[in-house]
């Protein structure tokens, strides 16, 4: 059914993280997009903004729901996926590649250790569902 790439790390709010050197690319998991239904809007921070691990960095909306996005790690926003403004549904169709949301410079690499592996996340999701 759902797939969780093994090269990513995950948090309990269903964000994924891909480590690229000193930076972390963040999106939401396939499970999360499936729960939301068709994504119609994402509100993301701007380049240069600071995000704090465990705190919200944006919002994601379907037609009849709005959910907060939580930063898996702290750091400064390096890039934002502006394409999602016009095609937010990419988060549904391609959550791990085209659906990426922000790229953050990781302030404290130890925060990455606190995240779940794909295997752990899969059992976390199984328990939640």
């Amino acid at each position: 059914m759902t797939v969780y790439p093994a090269d990513l790390k995950y948090d309990k709010e269903h964000e994924w993280v891909r480590v690229e050197g000193d930076a972390a690319v963040v999106g939401i998991s396939d499970f999360a997009q499936d729960q939301l239904g068709e994504v119609v809007y994402v509100d993301l921070p701007s380049v240069g903004d600071e995000v704090v691990a465990g705190e919200t960095f944006g919002e994601i909306e379907s037609v009849k729901s709005v959910s907060e996005l939580y930063a898996p790690v702290s750091g400064t926003i390096l890039e934002v996926n502006d394409d999602l403004g016009s095609t937010p549904e990419t988060i549904n169709s391609d959550p791990y590649a085209g659906g990426w949301m922000i790229k953050v410079s990781v302030a404290d690499p130890s925060q990455l250790d606190a995240l779940m592996s794909a295997e752990d996340y899969e059992s976390f999701v199984a328990n939640e569902a």
Partner: protein, 445 residues
């Protein structure tokens, strides 16, 4: 029981199905101490004939403005309502329906709201409008709150020439601490851009003004808008839509949000309610818009259809972070406005405005010429104006009431600072004969 089709036998059937021996069994969850152990202390119910008799009796103990020659305005106007309007309002498919949450069986309400939104945009020059608010006053306050969200500032400056009731409503909502309000003093019946400029700064979320203002005068919207924008504040203008056929829409002067009281568009005065708040703004602020909005989309068969949209702004989804708590609005009054505007069209609306303005000016000049009234301010006015009466206002109004006239609104009762002034309004319903007779009666007092 009236209005309930269930018979005694039906009730017995239902009780048996539920497994209850009596109706009171069903209320067992209500603890004894909080049960009302007595009948309600209200009169017994009566049949329709007696209901009608009682209500006709009460209605008979009023002398409605519509039965008089009325020159009362001050936010509520006696315009002619074409017959077709009420015939459509009485369609039960419209008035007995709930909020159109099931679009497949609510296309009538939804399409009407879409058309209403379009008409409000046309009148105001704005990009988007919502499905309606309670009244002009609450729409005005919602505009201030929205401006605070958009600008992330919390101080607003309101023109002192705005309707006193609206300003009280603004202050009342502001008592929550969400915004602070400063009032710009009135100079010669209008808002002076210079005094406004001294009150507006980088903390100002919005400058709010009405034009024509409460005193009937046309404000210098361009200058006021410039003051607001120079400080990075939003410019909120309230308008009377009955004059939208003859006055430029506030968009021309850079308004960011336009609101108003839509009662003049097809709603009866009804002692001041229900009226119709309308709310329109620029596209850029759409996500901060309060209240419902209808959009056009397609159904699965590819047909154009209408639906409540952008709902994540609203209380049922965003809860404590919603753009407003508003849920019910004034959809039926919005229907009245849409039918009214369809009936009069752009030409008719312009005629209503021109006629109301011409009659107000005729009355104004005749009253001043009588020598009994003095002009207070020279500022341009539309279909409403204030004059100082040289005698006792109450005595004058009482005497004219005896003769079948509602002689304007005694401003001293609305704002003690305006004691001695009378606010007169004309709509297209007034005739030259009525105005001439009224002036003769005033002179004869």
């Amino acid at each position: 029981m009236r209005f309930s089709p269930a018979s005694c036998d039906d009730r017995a059937t239902m009780l048996a199905a539920v497994g209850a021996s009596s109706i009171d069994d069903l209320f067992a969850a209500i603890p004894e101490p909080v049960r009302l152990g007595r009948p309600l202390d209200l009169p017994d119910g009566v049949g329709e004939l007696e209901v009608v008799r009682t209500l006709r009796g009460l209605a008979g103990r009023t002398t409605p403005a519509t039965s008089l020659v009325s020159f009362a305005g001050a936010g509520c106007y006696d315009h002619y309502v074409p017959s077709i309007v009420d015939h459509i309002l009485r369609r039960p498919e419209f008035f007995t329906a709930y909020t159109p949450y099931q679009p497949e069986v609510s296309q009538g309400t939804l399409q009407n709201i879409y058309e209403f939104q379009s008409m409000i945009c046309e009148l105001t020059g704005m990009d988007v409008a919502n499905a309606s608010m309670y009244d002009g006053a609450t729409a005005f306050v919602e505009a201030a709150l929205m401006a605070a969200r958009v600008t992330k500032r919390s101080h607003v400056v309101v023109a002192g020439s705005v309707h006193p009731e609206w300003r009280v409503v603004l202050d009342t909502y502001a008592s929550s601490g969400a915004i602070t309000v400063a009032t710009c003093p009135v100079t010669d019946g209008v808002t002076a851009a210079a005094s406004l400029a001294s009150m507006v700064d980088a903390q100002t979320a919005a400058v709010l003004v009405a034009s024509p203002n409460f005193l009937g005068h046309i404000e210098d919207l361009a200058a006021i808008g410039d003051v607001a924008h120079a400080a990075g504040a939003l410019f909120v203008a309230a308008v009377n839509p009955a004059l939208s056929g003859v006055l430029e829409p506030p968009s021309v002067f850079g308004a960011d949000i336009v609101v108003g009281e839509g009662q003049p568009l097809g709603s009866s005065m009804s002692f001041g309610g229900p009226g119709l708040g309308f709310f329109a703004c620029k596209d850029a602020y759409l996500r901060q818009l309060p209240g419902r909005v209808v959009g056009r989309t397609l159904d699965v068969d590819g047909r154009g259809a209408f639906v409540l949209t952008m709902q994540t702004r609203e209380q049922h989804i965003r809860r404590e972070r919603a753009t407003s708590n508003i849920c019910s609005n004034h959809a039926l009054n919005a229907l009245a406005a849409a039918v009214y505007l369809s009936a009069v069209g752009a030409e008719g609306l312009a005629e209503v405005g021109r006629s109301s303005i011409a009659k107000a000016h005729y009355l104004h000049d005749a009253l001043v010429a009588s020598g009994l009234f003095e002009e207070v301010w020279k500022a341009p006015y539309a279909h409403e104006f204030a004059l100082r009466y040289t005698g006792d206002v109450q005595d004058m109004q009482d005497a004219l009431l005896e003769r079948g006239y509602l002689a304007g609104v005694d401003l001293g009762l609305v704002d003690p600072g305006l004691d001695g002034l009378v606010l007169f309004a004309c709509t297209e319903k007034r005739t030259r004969d009525e105005i001439d007779s009224f002036v003769r009666e005033v002179v004869s007092l």
